[in-house]
């Protein structure tokens, strides 16, 4: 366990130092958070008191902000982690990593450590900027333990989706389409900017299989809503099931991909 943390720390340090060497990019990403919130605050004026937001009809800004924060978290983790797999393969570092005979699962998960830390930074930045500059009302911070549980399960599932994307990168050398499909499904059915119930087709059932649906509902209840025990236990059960399913599928598929690439001799191809 300690050895795994040593590897995770090494990846975190290395990725932080590389990101730090592109400081302008970092400051631009902070500024974009402010402008996204500015756009949402104006958009929410158009949708205020709209019945489709149910319990949040008087607080559509809060509804949007939590949606933005969680989709930013999901996409940053899954796409940046998978992009790192592509970059390491492109440069040949991936082969070098395998030469050290570490657990392949450990190496694959390590790719997502810095993206997760960076995504969490942006997540809290969105909430803090929302509170300071746009009067976002957060009223339930007393449920800190539950909040941490929901965040942890959400992160596990987003890493799982990123690993599935990395699987396609190792096998097909491109995996961006997994994140593109994920983004479309999340926006369309994940309760991010509108409740999935208004999608008047059987397709709305997709929302149950998206971890983000349950993450965003739980976070809205925990941070800006009134907590209903029944709703929390249902969403939490779904989120636990989906998190472990996605991380399991992600790790197993990546292990298979490495084995497949060794047989094909395509580890160093891109």
């Amino acid at each position: 366990m300690f050895k795994s943390f040593k590897i995770f720390y090494a990846f975190l340090r290395k990725d932080f130092l590389i990101a730090y060497s592109y400081r302008t990019n970092f400051f631009i990403s902070v500024i974009t958070v402010f402008f996204l919130l500015f756009i949402l605050s104006n958009l929410s004026k158009l949708t205020l008191n709209n019945e489709i937001f149910g319990d949040f009809k008087g607080n559509s800004f809060g509804y949007f902000v939590i949606g933005l924060a969680i989709i930013d978290l999901a996409m940053t983790i899954s796409s940046r982690g998978a992009a790192q797999a592509r970059e390491l393969q492109l440069t040949g570092v991936f082969e070098e990593l395998l030469l050290f005979r570490r657990s392949n699962a450990e190496l694959m998960v390590s790719l997502f450590i810095y993206p997760t830390v960076f995504a969490l930074f942006r997540f809290f930045l969105i909430l803090i900027f929302g509170v300071i500059f746009f009067d976002l009302q957060i009223n339930n911070l007393g449920n800190f333990a539950l909040l941490m549980l929901v965040m942890s399960l959400s992160i596990i599932s987003f890493v799982g989706i990123g690993l599935i994307s990395a699987f396609f990168i190792i096998i097909l050398k491109k995996g961006d389409f997994v994140n593109s499909i994920n983004l479309i499904l999340c926006i369309g059915f994940g309760n991010i900017i509108f409740p999935s119930e208004i999608v008047d087709t059987q397709l709305s059932q997709i929302s149950y299989f998206l971890p983000i649906t349950h993450s965003v509902e739980l976070l809205r209840e925990l941070l800006i809503g009134s907590i209903s025990t029944e709703s929390i236990s249902t969403n939490l059960t779904y989120l636990i099931g989906l998190s472990f399913s996605f991380i399991g599928i992600g790790i197993i598929s990546c292990l298979y991909a490495i084995k497949f690439a060794k047989i094909k001799g395509s580890l160093g191809e891109f």
Binding site: K3, K6, I7, Y9, A10, R13, K14, L17, I18, S21, Y22, L90, T91, G92, V93, E95, E96, L97, L98, L99, F100, R101, R102, K259, K262, I263, K264, G265, L267, G268
Partner: protein, 213 residues
């Protein structure tokens, strides 16, 4: 015996450029090849371009799986290629070596090893990798290969693109410090065996071994 290779073969699929083509075409790179590597071996692996040197070294390093035959490995293996991109170019040499050291289970960091001074890396430890010369990059590659404290070192044409003086320094370091002092086995893949004249004790000519290439 550190490595025992028995009758291995490797074929690669060739990409199809015509959508209508249904036939699978492939190229045989290694065919029914056997070799042994002992702890006191300095093996010179000679072959033309495309003769299968890199494929064979990658099979030995377990980066490619052979189609047929078996390989017995009894020791840690380090593989050094010519790929300069396999470092983090925006990080310093020190940060690169620190990162790769974290992956190994060694108690002593490569940064504390005297070999860093012998290789002359101490003079440019704080420099970004992208700002190094080709010769300096090769030295850092060799330093990285020493991190895992391997029993056998596979060098894949690492002196390519080096001037005569750098080439001699690197070959002398590998022969004297890694092979003679540390008693590690070496496999040296090259086009021209005369660059390591009088140093190797076995010569394997892949042009002759894989006659159907």
């Amino acid at each position: 015996m550190l490595i025992e290779v028995n009758n291995i073969s490797k074929k690669f699929d060739l990409p199809k450029f015509k959508l209508s083509s249904k036939e699978n075409s492939f190229i045989s790179v290694i065919d029914n090849f056997s070799m042994d590597i002992d702890s006191k071996d300095f093996i010179c692996l000679v072959g033309n371009n495309g003769s299968g040197k890199t494929t064979l070294l990658k099979i030995l390093a377990d980066l490619i799986t052979q189609d047929e035959g078996s390989i017995g490995r009894n020791g840690k293996i380090s593989f050094v290629s010519t790929n300069e991109r396999s470092f983090f170019w925006r990080l310093s040499v020190k940060e690169n070596l620190r990162f790769f050291s974290s992956l190994a289970n060694n108690k002593v960091s490569i940064l504390d090893d005297d070999l860093i001074n012998i290789l002359g890396i101490d003079k440019f430890l704080e420099k970004r990798f992208m700002n190094l010369s080709s010769g300096q990059k090769k030295r850092v590659m060799i330093a990285r290969s020493l991190i895992s404290e391997a029993d056998i070192f596979l060098f894949d044409e690492i002196t390519n693109s080096l001037d005569e003086s750098s080439r001699k320094q690197i070959i002398d370091f590998i022969y004297e410090d890694i092979f003679l002092k540390k008693n590690k086995a070496i496999v040296w893949a090259t086009h021209s065996p005369h660059e390591i004249n009088n140093k190797y004790n076995k010569l394997i000519d892949l042009n002759k071994e894989n006659r159907n290439v």
